[in-house]
Structures are given as C-alpha cells and as structure tokens.
Amino acid sequence: MTKCAILDDYQGIARSLADWEKLNIETLFFSDHFFDEASLIDAIKDCEIVVAMRERTLFDRALLEKLTNLKLLVTTARRNPSIDILAAESLGIAVCGSDAKTYPTAELTWALILALVRHVAFEDAQMRLKKNWQMKVGVDIYGKTLGLLGLGTIGVRVARVALAFDMKVIAWSNNLTRERCEENHVEYVSKDELIARSDILSIHTQLSKRTEGLIGHNEFAKMKPTAYLINTSRAFIVNEEALLDALDRKLIAGAGIDVYEAEPLPFDHPLRSRSNTVLTPHIGYVSEDNYRMWFTQIVENIDSWLAGKVIRRMDATINIDRSL
C-alpha cells in the first residue's frame, strides 16, 4: 500500500480536517518536529508521498536525494522557499501546493498589537496566578502612528484596520512607491522616518537578501522608547540579538513576535523569558479556515496524483532559502 507521511502536525489535527480514508493509502501522522535529518529520513524513507506544512521542514537536494522512494511532495500555499523545487523535479519528485488566505496573518498582527498595548496576556496571567487586580496602564492606539515596513497584500489589510482605528499610517520598503501608498491612504516616508516616527512598527515584507537584517542595532537606537515592534513576517528581517538588546535596555517599550530565527524556538531561548513581549509560536497562518482548506486541497492533490495527474504544481522559479 502507498505510504504517506504527514509532517509537523503540531496540533495533531490533520487527520480530522479532511477525508484521508477515501485515498486508500497508509497515512503516518507526525506531530513532533524532527530536529535531526537522520531520524527524519528513518521515519519517512519508505514513503512515496510526504506532506510538509509550510516551511517547517527544510527539503534541500541532499535530503531529497536520500528519500529514494519519494514521488510526491505536497506542501501548503504556493510559495515555499524551504523546498528545493528544481532539485525535486530533476529527481522525478512532483511538488504541489495549495491556495492560502492572507487575512489570518493580518488578524494576528492586530491580536499582537492590541495584546501588547493593553497587556492582555500579562493581566490575564496576573489575575489567575497571583490574584492581582489592575497591574498596568495601557495606551490608546487612537491618533498614534502605525509604521508598516512593507505594503503588500498583508500590509494593506493591516493598514485598513489601522485607519478604522483612526491611526496615522506611514510606510516604507525598498520597492514601495508613493502611488501605492496614496491608493491605500498611507503616507510614504523614508526608512529613517519610518523608524523614528512609528509608535507601532510592524513588518510585512518578504525575506530576501535585501530585507535581511533591515532592523538592527542602529534602527532600535532610533526608535521611540515608547514604541512597539511587531513581527509576523520572517525572523531574519530583524536582527534577533539586537531585538533582545533593545528589550533589555528598554530602547523600545516591547515587542510582539510570531517568528523566530530558529523554529520551533529552542526551549531555553532568551526571548522566552522577556516580560515586555507577547510571543506566539508562528501561528500567523494557523487558523481553522486555512487548515481546513489546506488539508482538503492536500487530499485532492494526492487523490489526483494517484490518478496520474499533478495539480497545483509549485512554481519552480522560487529559490530555496536555507536560512528559513
């Protein structure tokens, strides 16, 4: 019987979200991440089909060459720089993806902003664990300035909500145009202005050589001491060590972080103990709507492949990025 491995099913819900039975294949669900390649290979070497959630596991040429039975690699969304698609195709492995909704990430951005400025997670924990009442004084976002590093699909969605909250919205990125800003009622500014004026600075740009390390020691030094940094995009756009330093030296008021240089975040990572943060475990895309659609389409992809037709083939022009 054809074997299929479903990797990184952290919440253990992949089985319940789609009709796997109809495929008539053997399914192996793994809810723990494989940190070393040897145990990953050992677990999935017999599988013809592997399902990889987003960018959680790196499939480079070396790994793909060792998975000699692999014929179909299914992932989620249409862009996945953690898979060497060209290498896969040259090895005769088909790679297909799925559609993806962008609003869950914009919504999580707002969840982090508001949790930070109103100390929601902190006060909730204080009430439960210490029986404390009203520990902190929050800030209003009304009239404050939201700075967006990047004004793509997600950035625009975040801007729309900010405008409804009567915030001032400013934006900058390398290839952002004044026209794009005007269309979205956002003020186009320089990078320096973005850093210096933002009360909340939120990152919504893709990771590339140009955006890597865009926010580092220099930028934190120029931010307002009352400002908050939000990153729901990719960790490497911010220098994590500089972020820790800024949090410790109170160069900024706090940070809401969903993405990390190493994921899953190491157990003893210093961010885990920083109190002026709200931390979530890369759940920007983790919403029921996305998961239901993804696993439905994954099963469709497998079903179609079993019948001899590859659907939702991934774009091979996106280069693998080992840093993810």
């Binding site: 609003y103 869950p104 929601v120 929050g138 909250f165 994921e263 759940i283």
Partner: protein, 321 residues
C-alpha cells in the same frame, strides 16, 4: 490648616505622575490609597479625615450610608461625567460638590478588539505556553467573513462595528430600543435577540447598566449560542447572569469568552472563571490607558483648584435612565 485630599483606588500607583499636582501643593495635603477597601467600617474610618476625595470611575461607590458617615467631605471628584455608583441625591442634600472629567470611549472599543482577537487566536494561551517551552498548541479562528453580533448600538458599539467592517466581518445588532434607521446609519443589520445569539460567531455587549437591564443576558441566551461562538463583555458585569455564562463555558457549549467586567470587582480570588482556559480575563481595563489617565488626573487637579477658588467646574450630571 491645609485641607486634606484623598486620592482613592490608585491601583497602579500612577496618579501622581499623570498630572501636575504641584498646583495644589500649598493648598492641600495629599494622601494616596492604592488598594480598594471592601470592608464598610474600615472604609469609613479611612475616609473620615478627608475634606476632598478624588476617585476613579466606579471603583468606590458613594452610597447614602457612606456619605452620612463623612461629615468633613466637601468635594467629591470622579472621572467621566456620569457615575452610577454615586448617590447624587444624598450628596446634594449634604451640599457636597461633585465634579467629573471628560472621558473617551475609544479605549473601551480598543479593549473590546484586544479581547476578540486574543480569544480568536488564543494569544494568552500561546504566550503562556511559549514561556514554558512549548510550540503551537492551538489552531485559531479567523475573523473575515464571520458574523459579529452587537448588543447595543451606542457610541462604543458603533466604533466596534467600524473596526469589524475593516476586518470584512458581517455585523448584526440588537437592543431593546434599536430601530432600522439607526442600524442603517451605522451600516449594520437589525436582528432580534434570538437571531443574534443563535447566528453570531462573536457576540459583544455594549449596554448601559440600569435597574431594568440587570441580567439582560440570561442562561437562555447563552444556550442559543453556537458551539464555535465567543462572548465578549467590556460593558458591565451585572448586565449578564455570570453564573450562567460560567456554566456554558464549563460545559464547553460555547467556544469561549473575553471578559473585562464582573458582577463583583475586584474578582474574588476563588471565582470559577479563574480556572477556565477558554476565557481571556482582564481586570476592568476598558478605560485604563495612559491617555485616559492623563486626561482624568489633569482635569481632577483643575476641578480641585476651581473648587478651592469657589468656582466649581465640570459638576456631575444625573445619569440618563
């Protein structure tokens, strides 16, 4: 001899930093209290020496019984221009001047969204799990395309509706006196109470507490909610039957609740809500922001100065019924 001023309920110890109290330095002697005194006799004893008292919102109720025991009291300053925990008739009979401050409702609307979003994405749970070394323990709910049901459609709810539309949610509303015209103006759909409870994915309460609205939301209403639906209250605790809500939460017959207000505040340390992981709890912070506090305390100082100059300003109004 200087008059004595008590600043009450400064839970966060920030009152003196939020305004320029120097204006009062030569005229009054200031004492700040950081905790709520819940025992009546001890409260009387605490407040008796003071000529002037400044409090925040409804944290300390001034009942007829309490006012009768405070013979020195001349001025009572609160925040906001209404205060339903003051007996204005009794205060008037004693000729005690009562003043308020302006107050923005924006902070409460923003808090409502903080709770909705924290609930939908389990921010409090995931943040806590991150602190204990865990990774991805939940799958959240999206907002886009979901239905938000607003109970009440006053200033705060109208603002909440605006944000919901920016998230591409569908908004329905109900209240006892709500009409089509008002709904049309705000751009929401008028429904009856049963439809609101049975069809909404998120329900948020924005109502004024009066004798007739106490327990406006009962067990029957909570029973109608979808198992995937969330209930949010940033308005007043007594508007709902709190134990009925605890019951549906304990049975997991609704997805969760975000609460900023409670039947009794501060919430009792052994309250069953504190043991539930399908709720986000905040300690009545709807109005608690730097921006609000700066306004409150700056105007409180102005009110006291004006009173001492025999020209009281911002005198409290009788709340609408």
């Amino acid at each position: 001899m200087k008059l004595r001023l008590a600043i009450l309920d400064d839970f966060q110890g920030v009152a003196l930093n939020m305004a320029d109290w120097l204006a009062l330095k030569d005229r009054v002697e200031i004492t700040v209290f950081h905790d709520a005194e819940l025992n009546f006799e001890k409260l009387v004893e605490r407040l008796q020496p003071f000529d002037l008292i400044a409090t925040v919102r409804e944290r300390t109720p001034f009942t007829r019984q309490l006012i009768a025991r405070l013979p020195r009291l001349q001025l009572l300053v609160t925040t906001g221009m209404f205060n339903r925990s003051f007996d204005l008739v009794a205060l008037g009979e004693r000729n005690i001047t009562t003043c308020g401050t302006t107050s923005s409702w924006v902070s409460t609307s923003e808090m409502t969204w903080a709770l909705i979003l924290a609930l939908a994405r389990n921010v409090h749970l995931e943040n806590l799990a991150m602190r204990s070394g865990k990774w991805q323990t939940t799958v959240g709910a999206g907002l886009e395309g979901k239905r938000l049901g607003l109970i009440g459609l006053g200033k705060i709810a109208t603002h909440v509706a605006r944000i919901a539309k920016a998230f591409d949610m569908e908004v329905v509303a109900w209240s006892r006196n709500l009409n089509e015209a008002r709904c049309k103006e705000v751009g929401v759909r008028l429904v009856d109470k049963a439809e609101l409870f049975s069809s909404s994915d998120f329900i948020s309460l924005h109502y004024v507490l009066t004798e007739s609205t106490r327990h406006l939301i009962t067990a029957r209403d909570f029973e109608m909610m979808k198992p995937s639906a969330y209930f949010v209250n940033t308005s007043r605790g007594q508007l709902i039957d709190e134990m009925a809500l605890v019951d549906v939460l304990q049975r997991r017959s609704i997805a969760g609740a975000g609460l900023d207000v409670y039947e009794t505040e501060p919430l009792s340390p052994d309250h069953p809500l504190l043991l539930l992981n399908n709720v986000v709890l905040t300690p009545h912070l709807g109005y608690v922001t730097h921006d609000q506090y700066a306004t409150y305390y700056t105007q409180t100082v102005e009110n006291i100065v004006a009173f001492l100059d025999c020209n009281p300003i911002r005198q409290l109004r009788t709340p609408p019924t």
